[in-house]
Structure formats: structure tokens, C-alpha cells
Amino acid sequence: MKALVAVKRVIDYNVKVRVKADGTGVETANVKMSMNPFDEIAVEEAVRLKEAGVVTEIVAVSAGVQACQETLRTALAIGADRAILVETDAELQPLAVAKLLKALCEKESPQLVILGKQAIDDDANQTGQMLAALLGWPQATFASKVKVEDGKATVTREVDGGLETIALKLPAVVTTDLRLNEPRYVTLPNIMKAKKKSLENLKPDALGVDVKPRLATLKVVEPPKRKAGVKVPDAKALVEKLRNEAKVI
């Protein structure tokens, strides 16, 4: 069984993001980039399914600028078998990525597509859902446990009220939540081995997908600075402030 895993190159989670002076976006020049952490969990899950003998081949895919190759190399070093980059300098929005992934699914016919539930840059939380809709496949988002057996997947989802377990027919789309697994370390020997794995380069045109943005960004601004808090001498003063100033009790 083949699994397709989508990975996105994002600003590293340790970086303090700065808004560009002209408000058109955030500063990305000379900023450390990494694989979106939820996507790392997705790759790890696919590798575990392969180690368990469920998945036989893992194809990692990414869409974006040429440097996304580095992100794919990381996926290969974690354990993906081969990689495909859909290379474009265009600004990619979730719908465009979902369309590209749909085209790749038609080309590759995976039984399982695993994606991060969202990317930590735009936090859209849309691509997996849109992909499932475009393909007409079942979806299980926010997965915290995935079991694949006899042509179906049983997925435990993190929902507002707690956990929900659902069964899906394959092929299906799964998006990962934080607690699904803890990704392994990429080791140096595996980084060296990843160099020898195949990395295919495609253009959106070759997949017949128009990636033109549908949404326009009007302005990007820093979140408002939080005002310093105040110390209250005792509980009585706290209650007094909550009642009369904050008016919440």
C-alpha cells in the first residue's frame, strides 16, 4: 500500500517572526526554515506504518520554491522512499495546494494521504479538508491515533469535547494532531542515504493546475502589544477588580 505525505516548508518554530515594514507579509530573508512540525508527525506516522508492514512505499510531496527540496530531503531522511516537488515561485494558497495534491494522487494512486492538520505559518487548517473534498475521499482530521487494517483506517480524532474514533474506507485523507506521535531524530547516516533517493521535480503546468491566488492579502500587522499586568495585594482586591473593572463576575 502506498502512502503520500505532504510536507510544507515554513519559518522554523523557534524564529521570532517579524512583519515586513511595508505590511505586505512577514520577513523571510535570512530566516531559518524547517519542515512544518505537524508534517513531521505525518512523515513519522507513515514511516511507522511502513515499519509495521502496512505501508509499502512512502512518497513525500511538497509544493513551492526550489528550496522546498531541503524539506523533502528531511522527509527522505526520516524514512520516505522518494519525493516529488511541484516547483513554483507563486504564492500558494490552500486551494491551489489541494488541487496540486489531487493531481498527484491521481498520478500516484495512494491508499492513504497524510498531511499536517495545519501549517504553523498561516494556520489555515484547510488543505487536507479541501483535498478530501476534491477527491471525494473520506477524511479524518486531527488524528491522535491511526490504525490501518483490512482496507480501512480507524482514526481517533481530537475534537472539542474529547476524543472521537471513526472508521474510514480507503483511500482516505488523514491530518495529524500534535499527540499522534513524537517524530524520531533524523540521524546523520540517514541524511547521507537520503541523498541517493529519488527527488522528482514537476511544474504546476505539467499537472494541469492553475495555482493563481484566489485570496488577496490586504495588510499584515503585528499583534497588538499586551499591556503589563497589575499585582493585587490579596484575593479581596482581585475580586473587587474583576467585578468593577473587568466586569466579568
Binding site: 530531503r73 546523520l188 547516516p189
Partner: protein, 381 residues
């Protein structure tokens, strides 16, 4: 190795350092406890084979990339790098000077970390003056019988194989012609007499080793020929010095980073101390030392990787970077005030760890002498 790959390697190690090393280093160091779990992780990372050629199961990294790894790890806990540093110098001696059979027998086991060890050169009576060693090996049939004492041997307790420098001909003139290097695997007649207690560089074992009628098969004589041992030992020193210099860069950086962070949160007289000029002067000097030390290491590593003579460059890097670590660590202690003297903070550890880099792998007195001699040799009047 392209830069993308190097970044990938440093990223991978950086993640491990933040997740598994930084949170545990202080406690292990306080107890002087060997970091077993981290050693297992370093094995999986391939660090014990970092500079061993790929054909023997290593990663075959350049010394430039390797130095960056060493600096990065040293920034979090310098001791960890000692566990694979001298191990890799031993491996380099085999890779450079060993026979084909020795390479096949030892290098793959060194690379996987299955067999780990280090260098056994120093003796109780001599370190700098290596040619004065007294450990003796006498040939008896297919074996050599070794008697003597080695001290300060890193990995002496946890390691099982050492590049052992001995005299096979104590009467030889010049003295180095009577020196020979063996690969000594622990066995009857080879024992650890004691663990050495030390100021810093905790966690890693430093030991005194005693050889009493210890028999080494002749096939373990590096290169198969007596009288080349001094040459073999000296041949590893350039890489060794780049290593130690890289550790200095790591510790100097750690001290700087802690000082930069602390000086922004500690307030006196109504403002953060980083706004007082006296502290700014320190930070300015510390940052400049870090940068200069890093560039010296890069320069020496580049020369080493290009196969150029680099004893002067490696000596400069080792001397400057280790002094930078020592100076930055005491400045970081001062910037932290009373807290700098507390074991609750890391800066006192940097201050205890730094002097080792000024002493090991050729003292800094010797480095300056080497630099001066090369200066004269390269610039005859």
C-alpha cells in the same frame, strides 16, 4: 557536502541538543555521571563515525563540518564531544597509517560506536615532552608485551580500545625513532587503576591505565612497522587541535549567549544592566572573540580539508579559541554577579570547563611556540 546538507545535519543535532541534552546536562554534570543514554543517541546519530571514511562505514565528514558539530554540541555540554573526539583521532590514525587489514578490522566497529576508545599518550611523568614516555613494548614471537602507566586518558573506563604510544627501542637516537603505536584492546594485563577527579569536564571518564605484561598481537602494530609511533601521534594533532578549538568556540558562544540574555533581564539602578557601559564593553569584547575564534577554526579546517600544511593555523585556532572560552566564561560569571557563582546557572560550568581547552591537545604555551617556529620557517630572513 553542500551547505544544504550541512544545515540539515546541524539542524538534526540541534534538535537533539534542545530536546534531550540541555534539560539534563546540569544534573549529570553535577553528579559527574556518564551520559549513557546520550552516548547511545550519539551512536545512532553516527557521531562515532563522523570523520571515518564512508567505505569503512563512517560518514566521511570534512573537518570543517565536523568542527561545526563539535562547536554546536560544546555550546550545550562540552564534555559530550570528548567522548567521540579522541575516539575519532584514534580512528584517523588507523585510517591514515593502518594496514588494509587493520582498517577492515577496526574502522567499521569504531564507526558504529560498538568499539569506542581514545588516545593513550600521556604518562604520569610526561605530557608535553611525549618523547620521554617510558611505557615499553617488547616483542615475543607473534606478540608484544607491554609494561607501563598512562594517565589522563579520556574514555579510559568506558572505552575498550586505545591508540597506545610506547617505546619499542628506548635507546634510539633521536628518541622518536624508538616509538611505536599499537591498537590496544582491553584484556588481561590492561587495567584501569583509577578514575581521575577533576575541576570540570565532568561526565566523561578520565583515567589512569596500567599495563602489566599486557600482550598485544603484532598485527595490532599500526602500519605494521616499528619506530613510526611518534609520527602517527603527531599526525593526529592538527585534527585534534581543530577539535579542541571548536570546543572553545562552543563554550565561548555559550558564555556570550547566557550573558546577552541575562544582561537584558537583570535590572540595577532602574535599567537593564546591558544598558550600563561597563557591561556593554564586556559584551562587545566577548562577541568579537567568538567571531574571531570561529573564523580561525574555519580557516584551519579549510586548510586541513584541502590537504595543506596547517600546524600554524590549527595552533592559532586552538590557542585563540580556548583562551576566548576562558575569558568569555569569567566575563559571563561577572555579568551574572552573585548568580554567576551559583551552580543554579550554567556559567560557572563554562568557567570550570574552559581551562581544559588551554591545556589539552598541546598546551597554549606550546601552541605559541609552534606558531612562532612556523612563522620563522615560512619567512626566512
Amino acid at each position: 557536502m553542500n551547505t544544504a546538507e550541512e544545515t540539515q545535519i546541524l539542524d538534526a543535532i540541534g534538535k537533539w541538543l534542545e530536546r534531550d541534552v540541555r534539560p539534563k546536562a546540569r544534573e549529570l554534570e553535577k553528579k559527574d555521571e556518564y551520559p549513557e543514554q546520550m552516548v547511545e543517541q550519539m551512536k545512532a546519530f553516527g557521531l562515532f563515525g563522523a570523520t571515518i571514511p564512508q567505505e569503512y562505514g563512517g560518514l566521511g565528514l570534512s573537518s570543517a563540518t565536523y568542527a561545526k558539530i563539535v562547536a554546536q554540541i560544546s555550546e550545550v555540554w562540552m564534555s559530550l564531544t570528548g567522548i567521540f573526539n579522541s575516539h575519532l583521532i584514534m580512528a584517523a590514525a588507523v585510517a591514515r597509517y593502518g594496514t588494509r587489514a587493520q582498517k577492515e578490522k577496526f574502522l567499521p566497529r569504531f564507526a558504529s560506536g560498538e568499539v569506542r576508545g581514545g588516545l593513550a599518550l600521556t604518562e604520569p611523568d610526561c605530557g608535553t615532552d611525549l618523547q620521554a614516555i617510558r611505557t615499553r613494548a617488547v616483542k615475543q614471537g607473534g606478540h608484544y608485551v607491554v609494561n607501563g602507566t598512562k594517565t589522563w586518558i579520556s574514555n579510559g573506563i568506558k572505552g575498550s580500545c586505545f591508540a597506545l604510544l610506547v617505546k619499542t627501542d628506548p635507546e634510539a637516537k633521536p628518541r622518536h625513532k624508538g616509538m611505536t603505536m599499537f591498537l590496544a584492546e582491553k584484556g588481561p594485563g590492561f587495567r584501569v587503576s583509577k578514575k581521575l577527579e577533576k575541576l570540570g569536564y565532568k561526565g566523561i571518564d578520565s583515567a589512569e591505565l596500567i599495563f602489566e605484561d599486557f600482550r598485544i598481537p603484532a598485527e595490532n602494530l599500526v602500519g605494521g612497522e616499528e619506530g613510526k609511533g611518534f609520527h602517527h601521534a603527531i599526525g593526529g594533532l592538527e585534527l585534534g587541535r581543530i577539535n579542541v578549538a571548536a570546543r572553545g568556540v562552543g563554550v565561548a558562544n555559550a558564555a556570550l549567549k547566557d550573558a546577552v540574555a541575562y544582561s537584558q533581564v537583570r535590572k540595577t539602578f532602574g535599567k537593564p544592566i546591558c544598558e550600563h557601559q561597563a557591561i556593554q564593553l564586556k559584551l562587545g569584547e566577548m562577541a568579537t572573540r567568538c567571531e574571531a575564534a570561529r573564523l580561525l577554526v574555519e580557516n584551519a579546517a579549510r586548510a586541513y580539508d584541502a590537504g595543506e600544511r596547517c600546524d600554524m593555523e590549527a595552533g592559532m585556532a586552538k590557542y585563540f579559541a580556548s583562551e576566548a572560552a576562558l575569558e568569555n566564561s569569567i566575563e559571563a560569571v561577572r555579568i551574572h554577579g552573585g548568580y554567576g557563582y551559583s551552580t543554579e546557572f550554567n556559567v560557572e560550568r563554562y568557567y570550570r570547563d574552559a581551562p581544559l581547552m588551554c591545556i589539552g591537545e598541546g598546551t597554549n604555551e606550546m601552541q605559541r611556540i609552534i606558531i612562532a617556529r612556523q612563522l620563522i620557517a615560512r619567512n626566512p630572513a
